[in-house]
C-alpha cells in the first residue's frame, strides 16, 4: 500500500448570497478543484463570530477560510464591513497563538466568480497542505 498524501481538513464559512452561489457556479460550470473544503453555509460573512473559528481550530481543522461578498456588495448592506474588521484582528491573534499564518484566510468571492472560487480553494489547500497536519488542541 502506498503512503497516502496528506489531505488537509479545511472548514469554509461561506456567505449564502455570494460565495455559496459562487461555489455552486464553480460546480455547475464543471470546474475541478480540491475537495478538502467542508463548506458551512451562513447567511452573511458578518455572521462569522470569531468564536466559531477558534472552535474549528480547537476541534482539529487544518485550515479555516471565510468567504463573503465583496465589500459594498453585501446583501445586508454592511455585514461584510464588520466581518472585515473583526477578522482582520483575528488573523494576527491566531498567529500569536502559534497557528501558522496561512491556515486562516478571508476571501471575497461573488456569485459569478466560480473560477475565482476554484482558484482560491486550490491555492489555500496547497498552502495548508504544505503546512502539514495540526490535530486537535
Amino acid at each position: 500500500m502506498s503512503v497516502e498524501e496528506f489531505q488537509p481538513r479545511i472548514i469554509g464559512f461561506l456567505c449564502n448570497w455570494c460565495s455559496y452561489a459562487g461555489a455552486d457556479m464553480a460546480g455547475t460550470s464543471r470546474m475541478t478543484y480540491p475537495s478538502n473544503v467542508r463548506i458551512i453555509r451562513l447567511p452573511c460573512s458578518g455572521r462569522v463570530n470569531p468564536m466559531i473559528i477558534f472552535k474549528a481550530f480547537q476541534q482539529g481543522a487544518d485550515g479555516v477560510m471565510v468567504s463573503g461578498c465583496h465589500p459594498g456588495d453585501c446583501h445586508y448592506v454592511d455585514g461584510n464591513y464588520y466581518a472585515r474588521r473583526r477578522l482582520a484582528m483575528l488573523e494576527p491573534f491566531l498567529e500569536y497563538l502559534g497557528i501558522e499564518k496561512g491556515r486562516f484566510q478571508l476571501e471575497w468571492v461573488s456569485a459569478s466568480e466560480g473560477k475565482k472560487w476554484s482558484q482560491v480553494v486550490a491555492r489555500f489547500t496547497d498552502t495548508v497542505k504544505s503546512l502539514g497536519p495540526r490535530g486537535k488542541i
Binding site: M51, F54, K55, Q58, Y81, R85, G98, I99
Partner: protein, 287 residues
C-alpha cells in the same frame, strides 16, 4: 506624598457624603494584615476616616459601579480605573450623572500580595503611558497632559518567537488554568449576564479542565476584550496560577492601535472599533 492623597480622599468623601452629592463612596482601606489594601464602601460621613490611598491600592473599583447603577456613587479612580469607567460609559453600562469620579494622579502601585506590601512596581506601572485619568470630576494631584507611547516590548518579544515555540508556550500556560474565572469576575469589561463559557448550548468551551477547553476559554475571553481592555492588569493579578493574560490582551490592543488608531478608554463618546467600520480601510485580501 501618599499621606497627602489619603487626606484629600477622606476630606472629599466626607464633603460629598455630608452634602448628599453621593449616597455611596467607593475607595480603599487598610486590609486586616495592615499592609495591603482592600475596597471600602462608605455610606456615612463619619466612616470616611477609614479611607486610605497608597501604592498598595491595586484594585480596579470601576467594576463595582455596575452594581450601583441606581445610586449616585463616587469612586476613587487611578488612570487605568478611569479608563475602565470610560469604556463602561462607551457601552452605556453606567450613566455619567450617576457617578462621581475622584481622579488620582497615579504614582504607580506595587505588586502587593496578602501579608506583604511589596516593593516592586506592578507590571502595568512599569510602562504606564498615562498618569492623569482621562476623565474625572475631582482631581487629586497635579495633572500632567503627556500620554506616552506604549512600547509593547513584552508583545514584541512574543512575536519574535517561532510559531511552534509560541504554541508550546501557550499550551504550557493554559494547561495550568483551573478555570476559576477570577479573570472574568475581576474584569470591568466582563459584565455579560450570561458568559459564553457558561452556555451549554452551544457549548463553546466545556466545563472540563482540559487543554482544548482551556484554550477556548482563555482565547475567547481575550478576544471579547478586543478594543475594550484598558490595561488594568486585573486578570493577571488575580490569576491563581499566574497565566500572563495581559500578553494576550496587549497583543490585541496593539493590533487595534495599529489598524484603527484606537486606544480604549480615552474618549467617552468613542465607538468601540468593532461596532463601527469605514468603507475604505484594510487592504483587499492578498491575491
Amino acid at each position: 506624598m501618599d499621606d497627602k492623597i489619603t487626606l484629600a480622599v477622606r476630606e472629599k468623601a466626607k464633603e460629598l457624603l455630608e452634602q448628599k452629592v453621593v449616597d455611596c463612596f467607593i475607595g480603599y482601606e487598610k486590609a486586616t494584615d495592615n499592609l495591603t489594601s482592600r475596597p471600602l464602601f462608605v455610606y456615612k460621613p463619619e466612616q470616611a476616616e477609614r479611607l486610605v490611598f497608597d501604592n498598595t491600592c491595586v484594585h480596579n473599583l470601576s467594576k463595582y459601579l455596575l452594581n450601583k447603577k441606581d445610586t449616585k456613587t463616587a469612586v476613587v479612580a487611578k488612570p487605568c480605573d478611569a479608563r475602565a469607567i470610560v469604556v463602561l460609559l462607551n457601552e452605556n453600562q453606567v450613566q455619567r450623572e450617576k457617578i462621581y469620579i475622584i481622579g488620582i494622579v497615579c504614582p504607580g502601585v506595587v505588586d502587593s500580595r496578602w501579608g506583604s506590601a511589596g516593593t516592586e512596581p506592578e507590571v502595568r506601572c512599569q510602562g504606564c503611558p498615562q498618569h492623569t485619568p482621562p476623565l474625572y470630576d475631582f482631581l487629586i494631584g497635579e495633572p500632567t497632559d503627556e500620554v506616552e507611547q506604549d512600547a509593547y516590548t513584552d508583545v514584541t518579544a512574543m512575536e519574535e518567537m517561532g510559531d511552534a515555540d509560541r504554541e508550546a508556550f501557550w499550551k504550557e500556560q493554559f494547561q495550568r488554568c483551573i478555570r476559576c474565572y477570577a479573570c472574568r469576575n475581576v474584569c470591568p469589561g466582563c459584565y455579560c449576564p450570561v458568559c459564553f463559557v457558561d452556555l451549554k448550548e452551544p457549548l463553546w468551551a466545556g466545563i472540563r479542565v482540559a487543554p482544548g477547553e482551556n484554550w477556548m476559554w482563555n482565547n475567547i475571553r481575550a478576544f471579547h476584550l478586543l478594543g475594550r481592555c484598558i490595561d488594568c492588569n486585573g486578570c493577571q493579578r488575580v490569576c491563581p496560577v499566574n497565566i500572563p493574560l495581559m500578553l494576550l490582551n496587549r497583543k490585541l490592543k496593539k493590533e487595534v492601535a495599529q489598524a484603527f488608531a484606537f486606544i480604549p478608554g480615552m474618549d467617552p463618546k468613542a465607538l468601540a472599533p468593532l461596532a463601527t467600520f469605514k468603507k475604505e480601510e484594510l487592504a483587499e485580501p492578498s491575491k
